[in-house]
């Protein structure tokens, strides 16, 4: 029950947290002037009409950065418990963790050698 009390606090906090920024926005909504016109609410560009829709195509490099990040982020699923328990482990604990990180670093170096890390 004690553990869940902590999370009840986080839960109430999480409900309240968006309310704080919402309050001024709502107050602004009450006070602000309303003089809309077509030009104001059109898409902002350098003064010319927007050509085409927003979905310009993007370079694949964004995806590759996202991908490498994903792999390192997922690695944290195991590295955090490993780090927490580290002081109680024997030397074998270090070896296992080292191998784990080392294998992933290999992938990073592969990407490096293939120039996949360059912003082209």
């Amino acid at each position: 029950m004690n553990v869940l009390n902590e999370w009840a606090f986080i839960g109430v906090f999480a409900v309240m947290a968006p309310v704080f920024p919402a309050l001024p926005i709502v107050i602004a909504w009450l006070f602000r002037p309303r003089k809309p016109n077509v030009l104001k609410s059109s898409t902002y560009e350098c003064g010319v009409e927007t050509i085409g829709d927003t979905w310009v195509q993007f370079r694949v490099q964004y995806y590759i950065y996202g991908l490498i990040f994903l792999v390192f982020d997922v690695e944290m699923v195991f590295l955090f418990p490993w780090a927490v328990a580290y002081n109680e482990m024997s030397l074998f604990g270090f070896v296992a963790g080292f191998l784990f990180i080392f294998l992933l670093t290999d992938a990073l170096f592969y990407a490096w050698k293939k120039n996949a890390l360059d912003w082209k």
Binding site: V60, Y63, L67, L70, V71, D73, V74, V77, F78
Partner: protein, 105 residues
């Protein structure tokens, strides 16, 4: 504490939603997202059974650790799956799996 069967019922519903998405959606990215739903339904089950089962201390972590491994597999699947979708799209201008039957570019 909510009883175990409630978690299982929610997981079953989520899994079926995922199955429906995989079978019915045309878009490959949407299919991939549905697969993520299915994997998460499995994760709910794993954690729920882990929490509610009284096993010996040796096996205490099985469900917990398995969930972590499922997370890793889900991430790897998403990474490779999306990469394949992007490549197929680049070569054939299509994200509909039925139109990419012949994998020979």
């Amino acid at each position: 504490m909510a009883p175990l069967w409630m978690y299982l019922a929610v997981a079953a519903a989520l899994f079926s939603l995922g199955v429906f998405g995989v079978l019915a959606r045309r878009n490959a990215v949407a299919i991939l997202m549905s697969v993520e739903l299915m994997l998460n339904a499995v994760n709910i089950n794993l954690v729920a059974f882990w929490r509610y089962s009284e096993t010996s201390t040796d096996l205490l972590l099985n469900g917990y650790a398995f969930t972590a491994f499922v997370l890793i597999v889900a991430a790897a699947e998403a990474a490779v799956g999306l990469a394949i979708i992007i490549t197929v799209y680049r070569n054939r201008r299509s994200v509909i799996p039925e139109e990419a039957v012949a994998l020979k570019g």
